[in-house]
Amino acid sequence: METDIFKALADPTRRAIFEKLAGGGMNASALRDGMEISQPAMSQHLGVLRNARLVREQRQGRFVNYEVDPQGLALIARWLTKYRAYWPARVDTLKALLKDMDQ
């Protein structure tokens, strides 16, 4: 699952799409605004992001809206992995600070 995420975000275009969606959900044509990308290519990229559970789609009548999927288990796993390494490093810095501080 982690590998899917890294593969999905390794592509700069997909990363740009993902970051655009992180600012708020939108449909595929609004997503293409300002990007040099064909409609089929956009669909393909969105499919990869969806399979990695980074993005989810919601039908609204004739339109499909895309948004970042914060419920994606993979996304939560990535968050946990990141902060599991973050806190021990922060506490090391805290310990050094405590040594430098006056009583």
Binding site: Q71, I76, W79, L80, Y83, V91, L97, L98
Partner: protein
């Protein structure tokens, strides 16, 4: 703020550390912005002001991940004196992102299942 407390289903992690410094000193490092900034940079926080603070016991900050989708979380630091004159620091860090709420209408209604019954 109440919506944060309502988040009970989210992932959280707990770390315990023994620090070789008195509680009062650790508390200053946790709560005074100039000290806090030196080990917990404001760039990782959603708000440099604590979410809540109980002096020499517990302080909480709202955090925001620096990467998309910028997941929001709450970190709680609890301090208690240990037997060696040092301080035990407990870090509880849990996701608290409004977008993670699953099925909000159902959850809002979960305590009142029978009120809508018609005769």
């Amino acid at each position: 703020m109440s919506n944060i407390d309502a988040e009970q289903h989210t992932e959280q992690m707990v770390f315990d550390y023994e620090l070789d410094a008195p509680l009062e000193k650790v508390w200053r490092a946790l709560s005074i912005p100039a000290f806090r900034e030196k080990w917990l940079p404001g760039v990782g926080l959603a708000d440099p002001e604590p979410l809540s603070s109980a002096p020499c016991e517990e302080i909480r900050y709202r955090m925001r991940d620096g990467e998309p989708p910028f997941l929001e979380s709450v970190v709680t630091f609890q301090v208690t004196p240990n037997a060696d004159g040092g301080t035990r620091l407990r870090i509880i860090h849990g996701l608290a992102d409004a977008r993670l709420a699953r099925d909000p209408p159902k959850a809002a209604n979960s305590n009142l299942p029978c009120l809508m019954r018609a005769a």
